[in-house]
């Protein structure tokens, strides 16, 4: 089993800017763990602290149970894959892959053998003598992964490595990364601002905003049970209706909004009389539903292939987005029409504003 990574109250302050504060989570050994957040949320800072390029100004980082304080990137059982990949352009592919072994004083023949073995693992057999510039984006990606795996790290740190690839290749590389992680059993910590990437690949995801950890959970859990308004809005599409909590009845909360009283599942730390918002996913909004129904006029019908997004306006101008599967297009309201959209209380969540 690969090493686990534990962050205990980690904080990082650059001069007067607090980039990360009070972040605690544990990545289990062999887990595919993503840190998701918009740019500037502190996720790269966290990764660089785990890698050893930065020393946290507060808290502790433990890898495999050992405190990493004071250890540089060359002394940690981690390997990093950079956003730019940072392949060495003047070395052939095999020397790139074997660079970590070269630094460890491994003999040349053994380095070459190991490089060829890794080239096989990433399905690039016979590419050892090419230069990185002669490879395609996806191939370079795989070489970067092989180079990091060559030093047999316990933890692989990936800093948005897929962001430079086009959509098709990105989706393909997601599956490949996931398969590679399962095969090698190495702990992966993956940084991304792309929520679909995080949801598709990870065992668990940590959502960050403005240097603060918002929620850690399985992808499905984050989507269905967001703990904070930020998570509800950042992970997936959502409609938000602000209002005042009027009643909490077991697991269901009633909230009085500008569009009438609506009911949804009660989020954590909700109090009657406090300001809160109800969040409902586009796919939960049905034109035929009678529960929690609101009348809205359809503005636009955006066809996306397997589904379409209906952009509508409530009487006061507030937006509403509902999605409809391609098989149900015929029954969907058309632009200009006014329809009543509703949702089952189970499919919505009420979260305290904060």
């Amino acid at each position: 089993m690969s090493h686990s990574v534990e962050l205990q109250d980690v904080g990082m302050t650059f001069g007067k800017t607090r980039a990360v504060g009070d972040v605690s989570f544990t990545v289990e050994g062999g887990e595919f763990f993503s840190i998701l957040g918009p740019s500037g949320c502190g996720k790269t800072t966290i990764l660089r602290m785990v890698a050893g390029f930065l020393q946290p100004t507060e808290g502790k980082i433990l890898i495999g149970g050992k405190d990493m304080a004071g250890l540089g990137p060359d002394q940690r059982p981690t390997a990093m894959i950079f956003q730019s990949l940072a392949l060495f352009p003047l070395m052939p592919v095999w020397e790139n892959i074997a660079f970590g072994l070269e630094a460890r004083g491994v003999a040349k023949a053994e380095r070459r053998r190991k490089a060829d073995e890794l080239l096989k693992l990433i399905a690039l057999e016979g590419y050892g003598d090419r230069m990185p510039g002669e490879l395609s984006g996806g191939q370079r990606q795989r070489v970067a992964i092989a180079r990091a795996l060559a030093v047999e790290p316990q933890v692989l740190l990936l800093d948005e490595p897929l962001s430079a690839l086009d959509l098709k290749l990105r989706q393909h590389m997601r599956a490949e990364l996931r398969a590679l992680q399962k095969r090698t059993g190495v702990t992966f910590i993956y940084i991304t601002h792309d929520q679909s990437e995080a949801l598709a690949m990870s065992d668990r995801v940590a959502v960050m905003s403005a240097g603060v950890l918002q929620q850690v959970g399985a992808p499905r859990d984050l989507y269905d049970n967001p703990a904070t308004p930020f998570v509800a809005k950042f992970v997936g599409e959502t409609n938000a209706y602000p209002g005042i909590v009027r009643a909490i009845d077991g697991k269901t909360a009633s909230i009085e909004t500008a569009h009438g009283t609506m009911r949804g599942r009660a989020g954590p730390a909700l109090a009657v009389g406090s300001k809160a918002s109800l969040y409902v996913r586009p796919e939960a909004l049905k034109a035929a539903s009678v529960d929690n129904a609101v009348a809205a006029t359809v503005d636009r019908f955006d066809f996306e292939g397997a589904f379409a997004l209906i952009h509508a306006r409530l009487p006061d101008g507030a937006p509403l987005v509902a999605s409809v599967g391609s098989l149900d297009f015929a029954d969907a309201p058309k632009p200009g029409e006014t329809a009543r959209f509703g949702f089952a209380p189970d499919h919505a969540v009420v979260l305290a504003d904060g």
């Binding site: 990093m80 070395m91 660079f99 630094a103």
Partner: protein, 293 residues
């Protein structure tokens, strides 16, 4: 060429092209052809010029080959210039690396300004400053005596003085090409090498220096040529034992009164410098066009 006309139109384009041609012909070709012409002709009294004895020959160049002292000074100038280039490189590389990779923009601006300001002063005066610093009873000896590193003043003038003066004089010609080359190196390259466990030495040997090779070769070529052709530093900071080949050339012109032999010596120095430069570039696999950048 066509671009010049396209950009500036026929009139201005012609003027610019003419200016470049005048420059090339008057400042580059004419002096060099004259030098070659002088070098290959014997030194004759004015009345004999154009007479029977005024024929082209290699005798002036062969004279250098046969003259032991001059030949020794010639070769010493070549390898000492290479040494100057090497020491300047050793001094500049860490500064250039720090400026290009680690310094904040403010630090870079400050250091580059501090390094440039002395170059607003004439080279002769800058060398004269070293003449004062390195004097037998000068500040350097005083300071070293005061802190007890030496017991008696050292005579710095000679090889050491010449070396110090030249390294100082040509530091910017080495620093800027290397700085520019290292600046274009992505920071993550260095970080990746470090992350993979490479030592500082290996990071430089395998990642930074190969990347900066063109800049390093350019800096070394500049410094070597400037050192080989230097006159002020050896004249001011040298000693009788540290004569530079340029001083011999000077003597032929202004003391020996034999311009032809002086021209021949200068021609040999020029050719050898060219050879060294071209071989260096070839070894470093750098094109002349890279150097021109």
């Amino acid at each position: 060429m066509g671009d010049v006309f396209k950009r500036f139109g026929g009139g201005l384009g012609t003027v610019f092209t003419a200016l470049v041609l005048v420059w090339l012909a008057g400042m580059v070709l004419a002096p060099n052809i004259t030098m070659i012409d002088y070098a290959l002709r014997p030194n004759l009294p004015p009345s004999a010029i154009g007479g029977d004895q005024d024929v082209y020959s290699l005798s002036n160049i062969l004279y250098l080959a046969g003259e032991d002292v001059h030949r020794a000074i010639f070769f010493k100038t070549i390898w000492a210039s290479a040494l100057v280039a090497f020491i300047t490189f050793v001094v500049c590389y860490p500064i250039a690396y720090w400026l290009a990779q680690n310094a904040t923009p403010n630090q870079t601006a400050l250091v580059l300004l501090a390094l440039t300001i002395p170059f607003w002063i004439n080279e002769v005066l800058r060398t004269l400053a070293w003449y004062i610093l390195l004097a037998f009873r000068g500040p350097l000896n005083e300071a070293l005596l005061a802190i007890g590193i030496i017991d008696a003043p050292v005579r710095w003038f000679g090889d050491t003085g010449v070396l110090a003066g030249m390294v100082y004089a040509y530091i910017l010609f080495m620093l800027f090409p290397i700085y520019n080359a290292i600046e274009s190196l992505e920071k993550s390259q260095v970080e990746a090498a470090k992350d993979l466990g490479a030592s500082t030495w290996r990071i430089h040997a395998r990642v930074v220096i190969p990347h900066a090779k063109a800049g390093i070769a350019t800096g070394c070529v500049f410094t070597f040529m400037l050192a080989a052709g230097s006159y002020v530093a050896p004249a001011l900071l040298g000693a009788p034992g540290s004569r530079w080949f340029t001083q011999i050339i000077y003597n032929w012109f202004f003391e020996g009164g034999n311009w032809n032999r002086g021209a021949a010596y200068a021609l040999v120095l020029l050719v050898l410098c060219l050879v060294v430069v071209l071989v260096t570039l070839k070894l470093a696999r750098v094109n002349l066009t890279d150097v021109a950048k």
